[in-house]
Amino acid sequence: MEKKDLNEIEKEMKLANEGLPEKERILFSDARPSRVEPLNKYLEQFVNWARARSLWLLAFGTGCGATELRPLMTSRFDVSRFGIAGRPTPRQASVFIIGGYASIKTIKRIVRSYEQMQGPKYVIALGSCTINGGMYYDSYNTINRIDYYIPVDTYIAGCMPRPEALIAGFNRLKEKIQKGECDGMNKYADNFDWYKKNQKQIIKDWNMPDYNW
């Protein structure tokens, strides 16, 4: 009796990947993301200290806000002094900056890239558009609230926010990380079905697995 239950649970833990054609399902993992508890208190504090001082950005400009990242890197504002560096692959990055408005087409890519990042991972939503749609609030293809689709740790308002505002945002994120308040990864895993429902509601041609490992 118990064994059967276990099997059922195991089956539930698998993702259906219904968006994929039958023959492609073997090519993608069907594992469901699960919650990973933090380490014990002091160890977690230590690693959070290190995480906060070594923020690796995903170099993926999702909108017009990405223009603001260039001056950040170069000599005028130089974020590398805070231990912030760009990383070309989501596998290695820990911070995802949503650079402004996100269209339906872009949110699909955002979700993919976010899921491909390895936890703990942080999201900075940049610009008004990510908060409530900004000037594109009534567009047919710009989403209004990014936090319905991925968990967001810090918002930076403005259209566009200046690099100084970005640096302030980074500092805010750092503080939150050190305090251990940034747990978007587990939030996403816990509310996975809700996020997926929202995502699937607007992304109509779902030709990818349910979770992009």
């Binding site: 409530n132 749609g133 567009s139 047919y140 293809n141 209004n144 609230r145 109509k204």
Partner: protein, 186 residues
């Protein structure tokens, strides 16, 4: 250019010509003449380049206007070909045999306006909107605000101001009195 138009006039009846600028003309042609006119302009009148193709929704006339924008490198003149088609039965002949890259424009217009181009390659594939299920969004009877409200979980508490009034009030109410900032290049 006059000669070209004259020659064109000889070819077809009731040609409507609008001169916008010295280097920009529009002519209005019938749907069934489009293929002939485009070919003629490309092969005989040297309008070799197709800049773009565009559609406008004249919902009042129950018509779509399609514009093929041509360019002649020798006399350096843009010539727009306007074709009016019926909005109810929105369909146009595919011109991709004249300019192969037209298929891409036609695909976009198909997606955005729901105008059909039978025979155009890959016209049914989605272009920007991946998996769009509603009415084509650029049709003017499509209510984007309603759609956005329905779909995108608008965040409550949003307020809107008239930019001009708001700016005057907030920032520049004594703008006229403020000293002028000289810029280097002035």
């Amino acid at each position: 250019m006059k000669n070209i138009l004259k020659r064109l006039n000889e070819k077809i009846d009731d040609l409507v010509v609008v001169k916008q600028r010295d280097d920009l003309y529009f002519i209005k042609v019938k749907r069934e003449h489009t293929d002939f006119i485009l070919r003629y302009l490309k092969l005989d009148e040297n309008f070799k380049h197709l800049d773009f193709m565009q559609a406008v929704d004249y919902i009042e006339n129950n018509q779509f206007q399609l514009t093929y924008m041509l360019y002649n490198y020798e006399i350096k003149i843009n010539l727009g070909i306007n074709v009016m088609i019926d909005r109810e039965k929105a369909e146009m002949d595919s011109m991709h045999r004249i300019w192969p890259h037209l298929w891409q424009y036609q695909r976009e217009i198909h997606e955005m306006y729901g105008i059909n181009f039978p025979g155009s390659p890959r016209v049914d594939e989605s272009f920007v909107l991946e998996g769009w299920e509603e009415m084509p969004p650029m049709r003017r009877d499509f209510d984007t605000l309603e759609y956005s409200k329905r779909t995108f979980y608008p965040r409550p508490g949003r307020s809107t101001n008239d930019p001009k009034e708001y700016m005057k009030e907030k920032l520049y109410h004594d703008f006229a009195k403020s000293p002028k900032i000289r810029r280097d290049d002035e």
